[in-house]
């Protein structure tokens, strides 16, 4: 664990909207480069909160997150947007795709935001969708896809700008075991290509895949 890609130090997140919730308390952890890490824990105990903080989607109440040594908690919103666009890929649990765009366009949009010229977008998007086994669904809108297919489009999109780090929040949460298998196959393939993957999950099948498991309980990392 000499050169972690991601390092969190003393992360605390307090939600104070009328009534105070400590969602995360003094979390310190490292994500080794090229690893496949699972974050597990009971519902409502801070897993999503942690993932959002690790990806620079949200700012902690205190503590720091370093991506390759750069302090994300001190970065400007503009800098963060750039990092999200070029270095990170997100897959969320339920709602991932822009509903008015086709699968192909959803993948292209990620490239558009990263400034990839239009000419290059389409070929790459087709290739990515082929990798996740959706070459025959390029022009389908999200509401014409199954839940598993949508998650695969989301993975293709998360990989659009060849990120170093893939962050997934319960990507198989609402899939049957067959679809879960398919999806995990994709994740394994991505990981095999050298990407660092962090997955929040309740599923033991997913956890079995992981090299490391971090358990969160009551906003804290459970040692062991």
């Amino acid at each position: 664990m000499s050169d972690p890609i991601l390092r969190a130090e003393g992360l605390t997140k307090v939600y104070d909207g009328g009534y105070r919730t400590v969602a995360l308390e003094d979390v310190t952890l490292e994500i080794p480069r090229g690893s496949l890490t699972c974050i597990m824990g009971p519902s409502g105990h801070g897993k999503s909160t942690l993932l959002h903080l690790l990806g620079g989607l949200d700012r902690p109440t205190s503590g720091r997150v370093y991506l390759d040594g750069e302090d994300l908690t001190a970065a400007s919103p503009r800098r963060l947007a750039g990092i999200r666009s070029r270095r990170l890929g997100f897959v969320f649990q339920f709602f991932n795709l822009l509903p008015m765009l086709t699968a192909l366009e959803n993948v292209q949009t990620a490239m558009l935001l990263a400034g990839v010229p239009r000419r290059e977008q389409e070929a790459r998007a087709r290739e990515l969708l082929r990798l996740v086994g959706l070459e025959d669904k390029l022009h389908a809108k999200p509401n014409q896809l199954s839940g598993g297919q949508r998650q695969r489009v989301a993975i293709a999109r998360a990989l659009a700008n060849d990120p170093d780090l893939l962050l997934m929040d319960e990507p198989t949460g609402n899939l049957d075991s067959r679809s879960e298998e398919d999806l995990l196959e994709q994740v394994r393939a991505v990981h095999a290509r050298g990407k660092t993957v962090v997955i929040v999950t309740h599923s033991d099948t997913v956890a079995a895949l992981a090299e490391r498991t971090v358990t969160i309980r009551d906003g804290r990392v459970v040692p062991g």
Partner: protein, 385 residues
């Protein structure tokens, strides 16, 4: 994928809302275009009419208000009221040329047309008329018509017209002069006075002075010689422009209200869209869209509303001006709009102005919603179902 495609896909996802918002903008811009095209058309026309009045001063009956005086320009037939001894008194003043005339209405093919009783030779010299076809002959059985009348009623030299039950032959047709004079039938003054039972009275006396610098002196001289009012062509022009201006103000108010309503329509549509799309905005944020990008995409949507609504509005506005102009022409204030070309049916300048205005106003209406969208944090948007 391009930003424009993203904007377009977002715009058109709710067809009916898209159409309603566009219609509101189109109505607003159409009213602006109507205002501009009628406004410029009218004012140019009024100036032209006043220019070719050919007189510096017009003598009207005593005590006429501005409204009545304007009829000098519009050709409304008001009661003839200046007796011949008054005309002679004015003619005796040196240094000016005075030409009396009587304005009445005749009916050709069931349509009212102005009929003017004139002293043939003096009026021709005064107005510098030229004859296009036939002879310039006005007497008990001959009249002369303006070119517009000849076109409109397909009158040729030698045709007969019936005026107040009496037949007159058209002896000649005047060359086009480009104002109301084209749209009248000219009859010998004495014949017209007898036909219309006007005695020895006339409606107006047109006066041209030798020395324009002393116009005020002439006005004083005329008023001391006879019990009449005198207005200058400049005063007339000012009165007419003031009245047309007030019509214009009403139009402006309507246009302003329509545009304001369209603006609220855009703001409302965008606020609703942003509320519905909170999570999509979060997705865009997670994909790396910065605040500037989110802001631009939403302002872009508003701007496209402006552009499309503007185009529809320009077309509708010009169509409306085109069809409405003839009816507005029936109004006595705007009766100058006699010739068809007086209202601009299509004007590149107005088109560009209207489109720029539409895009600008629409973009401004979208600024507040777009700021709200840009302020959404990616997590806030993703978190809740």
């Amino acid at each position: 994928m391009s930003y424009w495609k993203l904007v377009w896909k977002n715009l058109t996802r709710r067809r009916s809302r898209f159409v309603f918002t566009l219609s509101a903008i189109a109505v607003g811009i159409a009213s602006v275009v109507t205002l501009l095209s009628l406004g410029t058309g009218l004012e140019a026309e009024i100036r032209k009419q006043a220019d070719v009045l050919g007189a510096n001063l017009v003598v009207t009956p005593r005590g006429w208000c501005a409204y009545e005086q304007i009829s000098v320009l519009t050709g409304e037939s008001l009661p003839e009221a200046i007796p011949s001894e008054t005309v002679r008194a004015i003619e005796r003043i040196g240094g000016l040329e005075a030409v009396p005339y009587l304005t009445q209405r005749a009916v050709l093919h069931n349509q009212p047309v102005p009929l003017v009783g004139i002293l043939p030779e003096r009026m021709r010299a005064f107005k510098n008329w030229r004859v296009a076809r036939g002879d310039y002959r006005l007497d008990g059985s001959h009249v002369v018509v303006g070119s517009g009348i000849s076109d409109r009623f397909r009158l040729a030299v030698g045709d007969t017209v019936r005026i107040r039950g009496q037949e007159f032959a058209v002896s000649g047709i005047l060359e086009q002069v480009g104002n109301r004079d084209d749209l009248a039938v000219y009859m010998d003054l004495a014949v017209a006075q007898r036909l219309y039972g006007a005695g020895d009275k006339v409606s107006f006396v047109a006066v041209r002075v030798d020395d324009i610098g002393r116009t005020d002196d002439y006005i004083a001289a005329i008023q001391s010689a006879a019990d009449v009012d005198v207005v200058s062509d400049k005063q007339l022009l000012r009165s007419v422009l003031a009245i047309v201006g007030s019509v214009g103000n009403a139009l402006q108010l309507i246009a302003a209200v329509a545009v304001l309503a369209a603006c609220f329509g855009i703001t409302n549509t965008m606020m609703t869209a942003i509320y519905e799309r909170r999570r999509e905005i979060g997705i865009l944020g997670a994909l790396g869209a910065g605040r500037g990008t989110v802001f631009s995409v939403f302002v872009g949507e508003s701007a496209v509303y402006g552009l499309l609504g503007g185009i529809a509005g320009v077309v509708a506005g010009f169509a409306f001006s085109y069809f409405a102009a003839p009816y507005i022409g029936q109004n006595e204030f705007t009766a100058f709009v006699g010739s068809e070309q007086s209202v601009s049916v299509f004007d590149l300048g107005i088109t560009i102005q209207a489109l720029v205005f539409a895009v600008l106003v629409a973009s401004l209406s979208g600024v507040y919603p777009a700021l709200r969208a840009a302020r959404l944090s990616p997590v806030e948007a993703i978190r809740y179902e």
